[in-house]
Structure formats: C-alpha cells, structure tokens
C-alpha cells in the first residue's frame, strides 16, 4: 500500500517525535514528577496524529466546530500532549518548563479550562472513550456525512475499566464511524505487566467481538501508524480501534519496558543520561531528514 504521507513527511515526523521525547524527559525532570513511561510509548502515535495532516486540527482552527478532535483518555500522559502542542505552536516550548508548577497552564493532567487544545480534562481513567463517542455522535448529528473525526488514545491498563466496554458496545450499536480509538499496547500498568496484573489479551479479538474494526500496527513505525490512522479515518462502517504495539519508556534505554518508570521523574544523573541519548536520536533523525 502506498503511504498516505510522503517519505520526507515521515522523516519530518520522526524528527519532531525525537524532539518531543527530549521535551518530555526534560519537562518531567524539571517538574520533579510526572509520567515518562506512557508519554514516551505514545510519542510516535501522537506525533503522527498531529503532524501528518491526517487529523484536521491545528493552532488556527481550535475554535472551528468542524475541526477533528483528539482526546487523551490516558491523561497521565499529559507531557506528550504538551510536547505536541509545542510542535504545532499552540504553546511555546519555553512554557513546557512550567509543567506541574503553581499557576501553570500545564497541569499534572490536562485541564480543558486552562489550556487551549485540551478538548476535555482527563486524568480519571476509563472515561475518554465515552466522551469521544459522545463527541463523535454529536458531530454526526450536526454535520452528517461531513462530520469531523474524533481520535482518542487509551492505555491498555485503562482498558480494564468496565466503562471502556460500555463505550465499546455503545459506539458499535450507534455505528459511530467517525470515532477512532488508539490503544497504547505497552503491556504495562502501575503494578507491573498487564499480563500479570490483569490480562487484557486477546486484545484484537475482544474489540472485534464488540463489533469494532481493528487495525494492528507497530506503534513506533511512523509510516505504519500514519497509514493506520488514514485507513481508520476513511473507514465508514463503524468505529475503529488501532491496536498499537508499543514499548513503554521508548527512546530512553533504562526506562524501556520498566514498570518503575510509569510515574517517576529521573534524578540529575538519570536526566543527563536520558537527554544525551535523546540528543543522539535527534541528531540521527535530523541527518535522515536532511539527507
């Protein structure tokens, strides 16, 4: 299948994603707390969504009722949302340094009333899919076949919440085709691997059994993610779940696949090492992009 995004476009997204990873670690380190693991696992997905042009949402149309929308259901990954909002110019990169501080717009979990670009406040897990389904249905009521698409990112641990399955049956029953969910399938939650804490497999079969069209993808292959997002947006027969296989903590060697890096800031030495690794990734991505 021909890619929906040009090879140059994909290299640009990869470069931006590498900068976002740097920003995520940097802002969490400065804040002294936050959730690096789930922010880093979702970086390539969120970068692809905002920077490929597939989602019609940018800094100039945030008040346009016809824009596409993104709901970060796994709200603890706020840093990845702030990092991408910096990429599209909704906030200054400088402001990222205020994460989690008193009077900052960058709350520990995304706050709809404080920061433009946050479609709804999240942080209590299990609610984003219902909200997104309601949004998508409302848009369908208003705009019919021209309705914008609502994208939402949920965690695999989050999908243990019963409400997620209430939303799953609802979106299928009402045939909400302008709804695209992405599962950040990193097989980790706070207390360990999901497969040990509360197994969520077989993920694809579960969603298919609920009547969803499922697309499986490597969540760190930007070209594949973009293709999946485009296919999902174009799909007209019902809601779509993109099961994105990811690595929690992706991009920082010592954070990868470690439950311990779910919700902890790196100390000074760890920050130094992580940022050095990420700088090298940025340099490599820039070289690719400019080659």
């Amino acid at each position: 299948m021909a890619s929906c995004v040009t090879p140059d476009g994909i290299k640009k997204i990869a470069y931006s994603a590498s900068v976002m990873r740097y920003d995520i670690v940097d802002m969490i380190s400065k804040a002294g707390s936050g959730h690096p693991g789930g922010s880093l696992s979702a970086t390539d997905i969120v970068a692809s969504l905002y920077l490929s042009g597939i989602m019609n949402c940018n800094k100039d149309n945030l008040d346009d009722p016809r824009r596409d929308r993104f709901v970060l259901s796994k709200g603890h990954a706020a840093p990845v949302l702030y990092a991408v909002l910096a990429q599209i110019g909704v906030i200054d990169r400088e402001e990222l340094g205020t994460l989690r501080q008193l009077h900052s717009r960058l709350q520990g979990h995304p706050d709809h009333l404080k920061l433009p670009g946050v479609e709804v406040s999240t942080g209590s897990l299990g609610q984003g899919l219902s909200i997104s389904a309601g949004m998508a249905l409302g848009l369908k009521m208003s705009y019919g076949s021209e309705a914008p698409t609502v994208f939402t990112l949920i965690g695999d641990g989050e999908s243990q919440e019963g409400q997620v399955w209430e939303a799953a049956e609802f979106a299928n029953h009402y045939g909400i085709a302008n709804l695209v969910a992405i599962l950040d399938y990193n097989n980790l939650q706070i207390d360990g691997h999901c497969s040990d804490v509360m197994d969520v497999s077989p993920v694809t079969k579960r969603w298919e059994a609920f009547g969803w069209h499922v697309i499986e993808v490597d969540g760190h292959d930007i070209e594949a993610v973009c293709n999946a997002l485009q296919e999902a947006k174009d799909y007209q027969d019902g809601p779509v779940m993109i099961v994105a296989k990811t690595i929690k903590g992706k991009g920082v060697s010592f954070m990868e696949d470690q439950a311990g890096w779910h919700g902890k800031a790196p100390d000074a030495d760890q920050t130094k090492q992580a940022l050095e690794e990420l700088k090298a990734t940025i340099a490599a991505a820039r070289e690719e992009m400019e080659a």
């Binding site: 406040s121 609610q127 997104s132 249905l137 609802f170």
Partner: protein, 311 residues
C-alpha cells in the same frame, strides 16, 4: 384543587418544548426512558433521545461529549444511579471541565416508595452540592420542575435537577416565576421559619396550617435552589422569627439542612432543627407511610417547630 402530578412528569415534556423552541437539547438515558419520561422526547424527536442501555457511567460521559459539540445534554436514570454510581464521571469530567451537562435523574428521595432503600436516594443533594461548578435545583411540584429544567437548559454549565416519582399536590401556578438563586416565601409568619425543598414544601405548608391552629405563626420558605442558596431570604426570615426548621426528603447530612446551618452559623447563629433522614437508609412502603415512619410528614414538622419555640 388541581390534580396531583410528579415532578418527573415535567421532564420529557419540557425537553420537547425546548426543542420546539429551537434549543439544541439531547437527552441521554439508561434503559429507564419510561420511568424518567424522556421517552416522550424520543417519540417526538427520535434522534434526540440516546439510550445507552444499562451503562450509567457511559451515559454521563456521552452527555459530556455531546455538550462539547454544542448540545445541551441532559442525563437521566434513577437518582441513586444517576448521581451516586457516576459521581466520578460527574466530578472529573462534567464539573472539572465545566461542561454544559444537566444531571436530571428521577426517583430521588424516599417517596420512591415500595422499591425500598436500594432505590431511595437520600444523599444526592449532598454529593452534588459539594462539587465546584455545580448548581443544584430541587423543585417541589410539577410547575416548578418545568421551570427548573428551563433554568438549567438556559444557563451554561453543570446543573443538578432533583426530580421525583411521587405525585405531589401543585404548589405553584403558571404565573409563578423562578430564578436561579432565589427562594420563595410561600407563607409569611413571625414565630418560626420552616425552610423546605422538594416534596417537603407541601408538607411544610400543611405543617404551617397545623401550627396556625395552635396559634403559632410559621413562615414557610421553598428553598428551590440549594446552590447557590438564597442566603439573604434565609437570614431575613431567621432575623424575624429567631427559630428555623429545615425539611427535606434527604439525609440531614450535607443537604438543605446543612446548607442553611452553614449560612446561619456564619451570619446569624439561630436555633435550628433539621428534619430529614436521620443517618439512615429508607425502606419499602408507600410514600405517605414512609414520610410518617421517618418523621418527615407535616405532623412531625409541626411538632418539631412547636418544640423548638418552646410551645
């Protein structure tokens, strides 16, 4: 006297009126569209009633999503499920994002009757009142329920409208106008103030008659809006009578009684008695039986009032 009518009877039909008037209303319900009366909206406008099945958490957040696309979204179910089971959805999504969602479940209070304690919600005012950005309306009859729904629909942001199953005597006529934050003085008096909400407004009016026959002049106030509470009217009346009874079909903790005690405690400490559910669940029975059983009927209110002023 006009025919008795439940406050819930105002729900579906007022939503239909609002749509007819061009308001972009949508109701989300959870397999109780007949009980809540939202069915009426679905009959007129099938697309404007969204039944999510028995999935109350989804109900609240679907309404949240709808509101984010410009709809005025009402939610239903029974009050016990429509507030208690979904407290976190109301807190973290509806109120935290200050969304245009109107929580308007029915079957609040013990007047639900035979279904018993599991279905008699007596903590809802308390739960909803404590939430930032939430406003709380407790209509006392069909007419005031229609207005409560209209007030909630007209003002942007979260509302809780407490509706009931029991048929109640009509207190108000079509010309009585309600406003957000305004109580109504229904009966002027000088010896004792009775502040009530919901079904207890009529009980309090009856209590005032009983008291009058004993030579006690009771002022009866329909609080109507528990949040924001009409502190001015309450303080003015307490100044005049020096004794306050509150009456609600709800726990004495956290509801109207607590709200009035907060206002008076900080502004004009006044002797008070709170009539309501005394830290207990309800039980099966008819509404009338239950009001007597739990001491929230007119006679109990009158007795408490007389005792409070030493008569």
């Amino acid at each position: 006297m006009a025919e008795k009518k439940a406050t819930r009877a105002a729900y579906g039909e007022t939503l239909v009126e609002l749509v007819n008037e061009g308001v972009d209303v949508v109701a989300v319900d959870a397999d109780l569209t007949g009980s809540t009366t939202t069915k009426v909206l679905g009959q007129e406008y099938p697309n404007r009633l969204i039944n999510v099945g028995i999935a109350e958490q989804n109900m609240i957040d679907v309404a949240a999503g709808l509101s984010l696309t410009g709809k005025v979204a009402f939610t239903g179910s029974f009050a016990v499920f429509g507030t208690g089971r979904v407290y976190d959805q109301i807190r973290n999504t509806v109120c935290y994002s200050k969304l245009n969602v109107k929580i308007a479940p029915t079957h609040a209070g013990i007047s639900v009757g035979p279904d018993g304690g599991s279905h008699q919600m007596v903590e809802d005012i308390s739960l909803m009142r404590t939430l930032p950005n939430m406003r709380v309306l407790v209509p006392s009859d069909y007419m005031s329920a229609k207005q409560a729904i209209r007030i909630a629909a007209a003002a942007d942001g979260p509302f809780y409208v407490r509706l009931g199953r029991a048929k109640l005597p009509q207190v108000y006529g079509p010309d009585d106008i309600f406003e957000l934050g305004c109580a109504k003085v229904l009966n002027e008096g000088s010896d004792v103030t009775i502040i009530a909400c919901g079904a207890e407004v009529n009980e309090s009016l009856e209590a005032a008659k009983l008291l009058a026959s004993q030579g006690i002049s009771a002022e009866v106030i329909d609080a109507f809006c528990i949040k924001p509470l009409d502190a001015e009217t309450i303080i003015k009346s307490a100044e005049k009578t020096g004794a306050v009874i509150t009456a609600e079909e709800h726990s004495i903790y956290g509801g109207l009684g607590s709200a009035v005690a907060e206002v008076l405690g900080e502004n004009l400490p006044t002797k008070m008695v709170r009539i309501g559910m005394q830290d207990t669940f309800g039980t099966s029975g008819s509404a009338d039986e239950l009001f007597k059983e739990f001491g929230i009927d007119a006679e109990s209110i009158a007795k408490a009032a007389a005792k409070l002023i030493g008569k």
